[in-house]
Every structure is written in C-alpha cells, then in structure tokens.
Symmetry: C2
Subunit: 399 residues, 2 copies
C-alpha cells in the first residue's frame, strides 16, 4: 500500500473465515455438511443494521474487494476504486461485505479445501454449485451477521446474476438490487466459450481428472488457454485495437484506426509472437494460471451456464421478477459483447412488464465487458448518486 | 452423388495435380524449389481464354469446390450450390478453376508432403506462406493454363484477401475482383483468436514440435479445440440461438428469443454436455480434427495474421488500391462479427478514395461469417447478376 495512507482507502483489512456447521442442500441434490466462507468487511454496521451492502464477485473475483492486506501489499482489492470512504460505495455511509463464493479458491470451501468426509483435498469431488446455492449461503451469512435486510446487493457479470437471484428468491431481504453487465441467462455463444475453456482444462494431460494437486502438478497450459479465451471476450475489439495499436506507426494512415499496425516488430515467419496482442494474452494467461484453481474455474463457468432464475417461475423471467420487492439499478456498457446492453435491456423490459421500479444506465465505454471493473467516471458517479439516494431513504425510513 | 444426375451439377469431377519445376521465392526469404498444386476445373475455357474465373478458398477449403468425386460420393464440393450449369458462377458461361493453396493438406505441396530435399515429411519445416505467396503461385498456375487475364477472381474470408492481393499486385491479370466477407487486414481480436487456436495446437502433447506424423500420432485435442474456437467466431450469436434453441420449449416465453431453452436435457451437475451447443461444438471439432492437418492450420492462421497489402504501398490501403485496374464487387453480411460489414466498408471507402469502380452489397443474414458459404438468395442472386453482366462485357469487348 502507498507509504502515506490514502484518505479514501479502507486501509489495511483482514479477511476472516466464517464457519457454518449447518447442512447446505445444493441444487444438484448433494449436501455440503458444513462449509467455510472467507469474508471481508469495510465500514461500520449501524445500530439497526440497515446500512449493509453485499458485494458479489464475478468469475475470478473473491472476498478481497478493497484495501490492502499488509503495509507491503502493492495490489489493493479488486474493486478498490469503488469502495472506500467517500467513494461510490461509501464506507462512511455503508457497511460493506464481500465474500469468496463456495467453490472458490481463495479460502472458502472449494476444490482446494479438505473434504471433511475423506480427509483428502476435494478436487473434482467438490459438488457443482449454482448461483442459487451461492445466494443461499449468502443468506446464511446475512443471518450470521444479523443483517435482516441488505441496503443493497451489488455485483457485475456473474455477480450481477447473484443480485438477480437475491431479488427473485429473497424479496424481503434487500432494498436495492444493483445488477451490472449481466444477463437473465447465458446465450448459446456464452456457453460455447465456456465449454471451450472447460474442454481446454479437462484435456490438459496435467489435469489428472481433477486430482492434479494430489499428483503435485496443475493443468497450467489448459488453464492458461481458458483464460486467454476468456480475456478475448472481456475486451472489445476496439479496446484491443487501442491497447495494441502503435499510435506513432507509419501504417496509421487508413481511414479508420483499424489501420493501426499491431505488430510487435519484424514478422518472424514462424509461430513465435508477432503481434503485441499475442504476448499480452500469453502474459495474462500465464499469470492467471499461476494464481487460480482449475477446478474452481470449471465450477464458476458451470454456474454461469446453469443460471436461469426463470425456470422456477413458470418459465418467464418477468414472472420470476414478479416476486421481487426491491428497487433495481441495471447498468450495461456499450461495447460489452459478452453481456451486451441488449441483454440488460431484456432485464429492464421484464422488470417493467412485472411492474417493478427500475433505473437503467447504458454507459458509453470502449472497454468491453471489462468496463464493469474500471473507474469510468459516468458509471462510478451514477453508482455513487444512486447509493447516496438509497442511504437517504434508509435514514428517512428509520426516523 | 444423387442417383439421377442433377441438371445444374458439374457432375463427377477429377482433381489434377500440376507440378511446377520453377523456384518460388517466398515472402519469408525462403525458396520452394518446385511445388505441386492440386486443382479442379469446371466448364470450358473459350477460345480467347477470356472466360476464366479463379476461386480462392478460405482457411479450411481446398480445390474441390463443386461436383462429386465419384458416383458414391455423397458430399459435393464446398461451393457446389454456387458453381454449376445455370448457377451463380455459371459453368455454361465460365471456365472455373479452383485450387488447394500451398501449405494446404489436400494434395498441394504442404506440411504433409515429402520434402524433396530430405525425403522426409515436411511437417513443421514447410515454410510459412503468405497470401502474397499464394497469389504468386496462382499467377504461375494462370500462365500454365494460358490464362492472361481472369474474367474474375472470387473468394470469401481468407479467399477474399487473395482477391485483394490479386487486384493490388497483378492489376492487368483480372477484370473483376469479387471479395466476400473479408477485411483489409486482421483486427487485434482476429489475431487473438488465431493465437489461442495455435497455442492450443502447439501445446498438445501429441504435437511433437510438428513432427506428429513421423511419431505416428496427431494433436487431435489441440486441433479440435482450435476448430471449436474458430466455429464460435464463424457463427453469429443469433445463429447459435436459432440453431440450439428449442422452439417448442416451455421456456420460450421471454420477450425476446434469448429466452429459448438451450439445454439438451436435464442438467448433469457435472462437466458432461448439458447444452446442445456443447455437443455441436464437440462434433464439429472432432470431425475437423480427423480430416485436417494441424501444421496446415497453423500456416493458414499465420497467413491471415500477416495479410496487409498496404504495407508495400507506403502504408495506406487506398494507396495500394491505386495500383488496381479491375472492377470490384465487395460483399459483407450483417451478423458477421469475424469480418463485419464495417471492415468491408473500409475496403469500399479506400477503393472510392482511390477512384476505383466498386459495387457494394451488405446482405442481411443471420448466419454470421458462415453466411458467405451458404445459399442465401439475395447474395447468390446478386453474384449471378454481377457475373452475367461481366460475361456480357467480355463478349462485347471481344467483338
């Protein structure tokens, strides 16, 4: 962390492990007999416990959403620009809870944990978990924390799907649902990309049917490839062009910036790296593969594929949303082609059809799906304004 | 082939191998001392050899563009619906030549051929070839066939790039350039997808540094994965939805057809196939991996990445096109996100800037990049009309 502590940082934070002794019946029919959740909290819970915000993470996120773990820590939590004193999710106003979801690899019960029934690492035996299961475990966490109703549940991408599930299944336990860059269910193309990623992991010879940790290895190449594919879908074509084009290039004379030269040097006429985008993807894939668990990656992509809250409610998403009882803020990004604005507008239309109160914000942003994690002023300011208003309502309703 | 021969089919065709004894100096600096091209021809070359059309293939195509190889052959050539008596590329009017490009795996010199210098299979030693090299070899083929000027050079995708190269580098050797679903050069996203595909092949343990044939194996899983990724980029999101949605589903009640249920049955809560799109991709990947050479796949994707005719002409694509001397027909498809209409409009704009004669057709089609291979009436009829007009011009200019 910076030598002089930043005024708007939550500073040094300590994750904590919460153990739940109760059984958790999962959507698959299996049961977890007890489990752990790693959590972090920022800000102070007020007396009537009405100022709590739950932050749900996306595919590769975890409980470390803000602040630093030590003085020497150089990398803050994944949503640090958004959570802190005076920031959009203002810890002067709100008590913020972030957790690592079940099946994760950052300390909550998951494939890298010990299976209490066998004493062995779970690995592939950790059951498939769904968004519904996660939200169920988050409800148990709410009970543990004594939070009867969240001021807001917030999340982007897969996190936004948890927000939708909260609204549909636990209507009285949240006042605001803030769903960012998500969709009511995956498209065939979304599922296809996930399947290719899984295929790449499962077919890595070092996968060992998911027991790679016991074999003292890991499917590095498969996971790397999975992340490379993922990364392409997180960035827009134009973001890639901006990132990997050489602005000073002689070749930049075309009528559009497609003309930018993307090469990293002379052509190799071989299969080494010729273009900057190639080395970027290699780097991203490599870094990720060293820090993430392959079985968790499989579980997270299946949770995405399976997400479909409409199934329980006679099939229609607006029928499902009839059950909700909160206000909604839906946000999308113009160049997001993983969960494009069209998908968020579906949610909005189904909310309107269900007669619910919804605000919708479509942000012009060049960064593709990644935008939801970035400090884009219009987006962050809108989130700040919405949450300030929500806070005012809470204060008013308490008096 | 059908038991009763179809009137509009070219019928049974025989591929033939043409050997070139001359050296071919490649863009990489390497030289091929002699090479073979597999070709097929349909229709009759007229006396003044002015009615010839060259068909250039895309990534996985070959010389077998129309007709059947035997009476028992059930699958016609890859563009059979477009080439034949009375069809869009009318073999009653035109003499059509299709070839397998250098580096291919359907009989032309490539990684699966014997290297005459070593007596071993080329494998990874086959040099990297570029679109420019292909067109150079196609010029040699033209000379061999006695064709001084093609009535038209036609191709889609990577085939369209060969058409552009012809127009720029051999301006007097074609009257018409028909460039379908292509781009003036690849985007960073295009290159990224290619790199992931190559990465998947090269890291398959059965790749053996490209010497898999000598090791009596092949990188099936890597090639399968590469094709699965490719396939996602060939189809539009909406095409996938149409293909894999269950029209009779109870779940099809959402406000848009995103609501269609994509599942192939009950959820497995495991990592088997849950959705139709998964089994489709597996099938496509598997079939392809059994019929295509991995080294060829690497070469084809590099040819795509390297394509950039503007580089030789002071950097601008319109400067490059100044050198052309033919008429252009540029065609794109509305839902193609691999080479979207925007990229074709770039070509059109640069042609207009260069003062060239160009017709542009943007076809509303749901099928994504794949559309260029499909019998979409508006597209095929436009191609037919354009070529009839071209034929009339040829007749008139000869009299």
């Amino acid at each position: 962390m910076p030598e002089v502590p930043l005024k708007d940082s939550v500073g040094i934070v300590s994750p904590r492990r919460v153990h739940f002794g109760e059984d958790l019946a999962l959507r698959s029919g299996k049961t977890l007999s007890g489990f752990d959740l790693m959590i972090e909290t920022y800000g102070k819970l007020n007396e009537d416990k009405s100022n709590a915000i739950l932050v749900c993470h996306a595919l590769s996120g975890d409980h470390h959403a803000a602040g630093f773990h030590s003085k020497n820590d150089t990398k803050p939590g994944w949503w640090d620009h958004c959570i802190g004193p005076g920031k959009a999710i203002d810890t002067n106003l709100f008590f913020v809870v972030a957790l690592n979801n079940l099946g994760g690899c950052a300390g909550s019960s998951g494939p890298t944990s010990l299976n209490p029934e066998t004493g062995r690492i779970y690995g592939p035996d950790f059951p498939v978990v769904t968004v519904r299961d996660w939200v169920k475990s988050q409800v148990m966490l709410s009970d543990y924390l004594g939070i009867k109703q969240w001021a807001a549940v917030v999340g982007g991408s897969l996190g936004g799907m948890q927000v939708l599930r909260w609204a549909v299944s636990y209507p009285d336990r949240l006042r605001h649902a803030i769903c960012i860059a998500a969709a009511p269910k995956l498209s065939a193309q979304n599922i296809a990309f996930n399947e290719v990623a899984r295929h790449s992991i499962i077919n890595d010879p070092n996968f060992h049917d998911g027991r790679y940790l016991e074999a003292n290895t890991y499917p590095k190449l498969g996971l790397m490839l999975a992340r490379m594919i993922g990364h392409i879908t997180y960035l827009s074509d134009s973001a890639m062009r901006e990132k990997f084009g050489r602005a000073d290039s002689n070749f930049n004379t075309s009528s559009t910036n497609f003309g930018r030269d993307l090469r990293s040097g002379n052509l190799s006429f071989g299969f080494n790296v010729d273009f900057q985008v190639e080395s970027y993807l290699h780097y991203q894939g490599e870094r990720f593969s060293e820090n993430f668990d392959a079985n968790t990656y499989l579980l997270m992509t299946k949770a995405l594929d399976y997400f479909d809250p409409s199934v329980d409610f006679d099939g229609g998403f607006s029928e499902a949303l009839q059950h909700s009882n909160c206000k909604f803020l839906i946000i999308s990004f113009s160049t997001d082609w993983r969960f494009p604005p069209e998908r968020s507008r579906e949610i909005v239309n189904d909310l309107l059809k269900a007669g619910k109160e919804v605000s919708y914000l479509e942000i012009e942003a060049d960064q593709g799906h990644d935008a939801f994690l970035l400090p884009i002023p219009r987006y962050i300011n809108a989130l700040r304004a919405y949450l300030r208003q929500a806070h005012t309502e809470i204060i008013e309703s308490a008096t």
